[in-house]
């Protein structure tokens, strides 16, 4: 259908639009018009991706600037889904407009997924594929070939050079499969096609890491222009992605490998000195001028990248004491030896980068400045030496990256040395965590550089947490709910069992017999009443294991077994995949199954349990993080001091976003239905931290329930759901045809003065109710915070 938002014609590839989709698009347009960043929350299964794509593509095609869209998502399957939706959208647009638009949309993923080379693509590990690919495609390999030496090259990559550089692939949208097929036909490398065409694309779809991880972003996303529109979809975990991309763990093993790498480099340098001293001299001469000059040689197949170097550093010359290759190698050796001595300590150390640098200087006379250039210098050296077996140097690169980061950032990072794996271990196995505490550091360049950044997900409550944590300002912040003609999901909070004993995963009580039995009888009851699939989430693997073994003794599992097949998630990905497959088969057979999994595991993040695969989800206990972790403690302290986010607030927010993620697994659309159970007495106080759309369904009478009360309302709900219902019933209310939409637009025009703040219009458009602002409580939260603090427990 074609409709207008203000003056912008939007082609939407479906005959009807949900009210919240329309409102979402309006808000998006507002953000794009103003230029700025926004945070939007919309429930899963309401067509977020298609609304985003259709509005932004309409915007691109309507305005002459043709801003590029960079759409980032989290997993491979989500990226593929988005590409498929985009393809569908473009097909619809061509059909409606009657002409083909000049439009390119491409996705990017790792070499492993896009390789066509007959032997390389058979490799299993991603890093091996990367390394082998580089050794076949690097610039110097080609030079060698031209000189007549006998080296292997990749035919697919070479064929690209025969094509026009800006027209490697015809216009249109290519899914990964499509790209692979086209590459096979034309005998050209799909990976490099996508990489090189990036600058000419209207829409790019790839993973967060290509934009956030400075090691990759610098290579892949450097040439993207400033006026791009960046979308982070499924962004509820974006702060963790940012932090992970800048954190490094160094172990004794990696140091040993790094030493081996340095010794190899040393040997290579000596070799090269005797055979091709001129090359080293050339590199030296370039470095005298500065990194920028040395950088000109850099191209897409260069292998290492610098982590988040400030721009002024790149223009500066490399310090004299690491200019010569042999000096630099000795420098690296000294640094690694220093790290080794640090690893020998048998107590936990936590220190800031300046204190680390100070000690380093005292012991080894390594100054801060050459340390900052470490990563870049290593890249340059590796390129000069024309190394091909790059994967051997991975640990060395890690150390160099660490060196650069530690010398570049004074705040927002912390070094934690843990000599023992656990509190009870006696054999030292030291790990040096260089941990980033500030999520804003990695994402800052993105917010600063791009015209408009859109952060969106199904669970982003409370909305203001993200701008605070990531340190940016928003133009629009909005939470949408699902407009429904009938209540298709039933959230409930259960806080006690039939014996009136509490249900909680609090550390002091979690191993009580009554608590375990109550959790068990909850599981039994819901297995009895639910048709098809049941999904159960525990706060941690440790707790899941202990409670399952307790249930085994209480014969609870035997009872469950009568009704459902029991499957368990494990940390092993393949095992879990098998469990999931079996789960689906069991659900398809009609008997149903119960899947026991962990709130922060793979299942809770990426797997959908739509329709009969998930009719009930039970969240057993509040999924808090393991609060005894030193890294988490350091981060909490940092958040309190820098962004004024209280520890309890953050922990609670983090637990609730994971709980909400788990609950969201079962509702994947408007015609889907399911029961959501939060089983812990502590959830009663945390209702406000759930996403608005869940809160809306959670009325007073479904909180503070005992198991039997919950069972009876769940039974009533399932009876309601089983009455015949057709999609036609939601038309006009939860789904608008063109006429409905135009009627609504007219209504809005009449009441237009009050705009989106009018509560009636807000309700119609599926916007969440705005809460009246509460007066700010005092700095330390008074008695209220004490209660919250008392609630925090140690989750293992």
């Amino acid at each position: 259908m074609l409709f207008y938002i203000d003056t912008l014609p939007v082609l939407f590839p479906y005959p009807s639009v949900y009210p919240e989709q329309y409102a979402y698009m309006c808000d998006l347009k507002r953000t794009l018009d103003q230029g700025g960043h926004c945070v939007l929350e919309m429930p899963s299964g309401t067509g977020k991706t298609i609304s985003l794509l259709s509005l932004i593509v309409a915007y691109q095609q309507h305005y002459p600037e043709k801003r590029k869209l960079i759409y980032c998502s989290r997993t491979m399957s989500e990226i593929e889904k988005a590409l498929a939706e985009l393809k569908g959208l473009m097909k619809y647009r061509t059909q409606e407009l009657g002409r083909e638009e000049e439009f390119r949309g491409l996705g990017l993923t790792s070499r492993k997924n896009l390789c066509l080379h007959p032997s390389v693509k058979r490799e299993k590990s991603g890093s091996v594929v990367d390394a082998r690919c580089r050794s076949l495609t690097a610039g110097f390999v080609k030079e060698k070939k031209e000189r007549g030496e006998d080296v292997e090259l990749c035919v697919y990559h070479d064929n690209l050079d025969l094509l026009e550089p800006h027209n490697l692939i015809p216009p249109g949208v290519f899914t990964f499969d499509g790209l692979l097929k086209y590459g096979e036909q034309q005998k050209q490398c799909p990976y490099f096609t996508a990489r090189r065409m990036m600058a000419y694309c209207n829409v790019i779809i790839y993973s967060y890491h290509y934009l956030l991880d400075p090691k990759i972003a610098d290579r892949v996303s450097k040439e993207l222009s400033k006026d791009c529109i960046v979308v982070f979809d499924e962004a509820h975990n974006i702060d963790n992605v940012c932090i992970e991309s800048l954190s490094i763990d160094i172990t004794e093993d990696s140091l040993r490998k790094a030493t081996k790498g340095v010794n190899n480099l040393d040997r290579k340098i000596t070799e090269m000195k005797s055979t091709d001293a001129e090359k080293l001299q050339n590199e030296y001469a370039k470095l005298v001028e500065g990194l920028r000059a040395a950088d000109e040689a850099r191209n897409e197949d260069a292998f290492m990248a610098n982590p988040a170097l400030p721009d002024d550093l790149l223009t500066e010359a490399v310090p004299g004491n690491i200019r010569r290759a042999e000096h630099f190698v000795a420098f690296l050796k000294r640094f690694i030896e220093y790290l080794k001595t640090r690893m020998k300590v048998l107590h936990v150390i936590s220190e800031t980068p300046p204190s680390f640098l100070q000690h380093l200087r005292e012991l080894t006379f390594i100054e801060k400045k050459p340390l900052r250039f470490c990563a870049e210098r290593l890249t340059s050296l590796v390129r000069t030496l024309e190394l091909t077996n790059i994967e051997d140097y991975q640990p060395l690169q890690e150390v160099a990256t660490f060196a650069t980061l530690v010398a570049t950032y004074e705040t927002g990072f912390l070094l934690i040395l843990e000599p023992f794996e656990s509190a009870t271990a006696t054999v030292p196995n030291p790990v040096l965590h260089f941990t980033c505490l500030d999520a804003a550091i990695a994402i800052k360049p993105v917010f600063e550089r791009f015209y408009s950044v859109i952060v969106t997900s199904g669970t982003m409550s409370p909305l203001d947490m993200y701008p605070r944590m990531l340190n940016f300002n928003t133009v629009v912040q909005e939470s949408f709910t699902m407009t429904l003609t009938r209540k298709t999901f039933l959230p409930m909070i259960i806080d006690r069992g039939n014996d009136q004993n509490q249900i909680t995963s609090q550390f002091e009580h979690r191993n009580d017999l009554q608590v375990q039995r109550n959790f068990g009888s909850l599981l039994i009851e819901f297995c009895k009443l639910t048709p098809d699939g049941v999904v159960v989430f525990f706060p941690s693997y440790l707790y899941m294991e202990s409670i399952i073994s307790a249930w085994q003794g209480m014969e609870i599992l035997d009872t469950v077994w009568k009704y459902k097949l029991i499957l368990v998630e494990t940390p092993d990905a393949q095992e879990t995949a098998l469990a999931l497959e079996t789960f689906r088969t069991a659900c398809n057979n009609g008997r149903g199954a119960v899947l026991l999994c962990v709130a922060r595991g793979k299942v809770s993040e990426g797997i959908d349990f739509d329709h009969h695969y998930g009719r009930s989800v039970l969240c057993m206990g509040v999924p808090y993080q393991y609060t005894e972790s030193r890294i988490l403690k350091a981060r909490l302290e940092f958040l309190r001091e820098t962004y004024r986010i209280k520890e309890a607030d953050f922990l609670s927010f983090d637990a609730m976003r994971h709980a909400a993620q788990c609950l969201g697994r079962v509702i994947r659309g408007k015609d889907d239905y399911g029961i959501m159970v939060l089983a812990d007495k502590r959830f009663n106080k945390k209702v406000t931290q759930l996403p608005k759309w869940i809160q809306q369904g959670l009325d007073q009478k479904s909180t503070k329930l005992s198991i039997d009360q919950a069972v009876s309302s769940a039974k009533a709900f399932l009876r309601d759901m089983s009455t015949p219902w057709s999609r036609a019933e939601q038309e006009g209310h939860a789904s608008w045809s063109l006429e409905d939409l135009q009627a609504h637009q007219k209504k809005r025009e009449i009441e237009g003065i009050s705009g989106t703040d009018n509560p009636r219009i807000r309700a119609l458009e599926g916007r969440a109710e705005v809460e009246p602002k509460e007066p700010e409580d005092d700095e330390f939260g008074g008695a209220d915070a004490d209660a919250v603090m008392a609630d925090l427990d140690i989750d293992g």
């Binding site: 004299g320 042999e326 000096h327 000294r334 001595t341 012991l363 006379f365 006696t426």
Partner: protein, 343 residues
């Protein structure tokens, strides 16, 4: 770390075993296996943990510690060091190395790699002499060249290339730096050397006297092209900071009276009684304080012409931020307050 917990474990298991009434053999076996389990394997398996001198290993002597001497960096265990070097300096016991070592110089090694250990020692030596900073150079380029040169000096020392020549140059450079830092110290050195010569070589005194004035310009010339060890391009000449002036609380403003001279005593009749009165002098009272104060009061405001100053100032500024000016403008209105008087 390795020993104590092991023992504690062993003891507790023994006690447990006794309680359980197990046979003595199984007891000891149990204890043994536990001891093995709790020892860090990294320590036990390393073949480098055998002292090259006495061949004792960590297996026999769990507390063994290794020491090195920065003369030759040969590793040996603590007991060997005690045994060989307790009676004074002795040659290194490692075959092929005959360097004389002293016990006092032995120390624990910081780095696993002895090459790095030695390198760091050399760097410490070089860093002591080469301590220029980026600010000391005219351009960044010069500084980087300097850094590279320093690195090369270090490498010469590490690889034992022209060690003596480099050492000599380093020493000369150090001396030169010291001299530049503190010219007085050098002059003193020079001065002090001359008189001692005088004492020792009294006979040659006359000769020396004639030579002395002639040598002064020569030394200056010598200093100009003296071999200072190294030459660095673009090094800024050190500018000695100006001598620090003594602290002046009034900021250069003189409080000496202009219109009178204070005398020690004034012979005036009406003061004689007071001067001689014991009651006044008992409390530490000094008549001079009285003179000083009275004269100051008498001459206060002398030579101050308010009208002139107001004219010179023009219209008084009414900037509220400058307190004194505001006060001055008030004074203009009030007329009888003289702000220029100190008292």
């Amino acid at each position: 770390m390795s020993k104590q917990p092991t023992r504690a474990n062993g003891a507790s298991t023994k006690r447990l075993a006794e309680d359980g009434g197990a046979s003595p053999l199984s007891k000891s076996l149990h204890g043994l296996s536990l001891q093995h389990a709790s020892r860090p394997p990294a320590v036990a398996d390393s073949s480098s943990d055998i002292c090259p001198v006495c061949k004792s290993s960590r297996y026999l002597n769990p507390n063994m510690q290794f020491k090195v001497n920065p003369e030759c960096y040969h590793k040996m265990c603590e007991s060997c060091v005690d045994r060989i070097f307790s009676h004074g300096p002795a040659p290194c016991p490692i075959a092929g190395c005959a360097r004389t070592l002293r016990k006092a110089k032995f120390r624990r090694q910081t780095f696993e790699d002895l090459k790095v250990e030695r390198e760091v020692d050399i760097r410490r030596r070089v860093a002591g002499a080469m301590n220029k900073k980026e600010e000391d150079f005219e351009t960044l380029m010069d500084y980087n060249d300097y850094l590279e040169q320093v690195e090369e000096i270090t490498w010469n020392l590490i690889l034992k290339v022209d060690v003596e020549a480099t050492e000599g140059r380093l020493r000369r450079w150090e001396d030169h730096q010291k001299a530049e830092l503190n010219p007085n110290a050098r002059r003193r050195e020079f001065d002090s050397s001359v008189p001692t010569d005088h004492v020792v070589l009294k006979k040659g005194a006359t000769q020396r006297k004639t030579a002395a004035p002639a040598s002064t310009p020569q030394t200056i010339a010598n200093e100009m092209n003296e071999d200072i060890g190294f030459k660095f391009h673009g090094l800024k000449k050190r500018v000695a900071p100006p001598p620090e002036a003594p602290f002046d609380p009034f900021g250069g403003w003189s409080i000496a009276p202009q219109y009178y001279v204070l005398q020690d005593d004034y012979e005036v009749d009406w003061l004689t009684n007071q001067k001689n009165d014991v009651k006044h002098s008992v409390g530490g009272y000094d008549m001079r304080d009285f003179y000083n104060r009275s004269l100051r009061e008498a001459f206060g405001g002398f030579g101050v012409f308010i009208e002139d100053e107001i004219n010179a100032r023009g219209t008084p500024s009414l900037d509220p931020h400058v307190g004194t000016k505001q006060a001055a403008s008030v004074a203009v209105g009030a007329r009888d307050v003289n702000m220029d008087d100190v008292f």
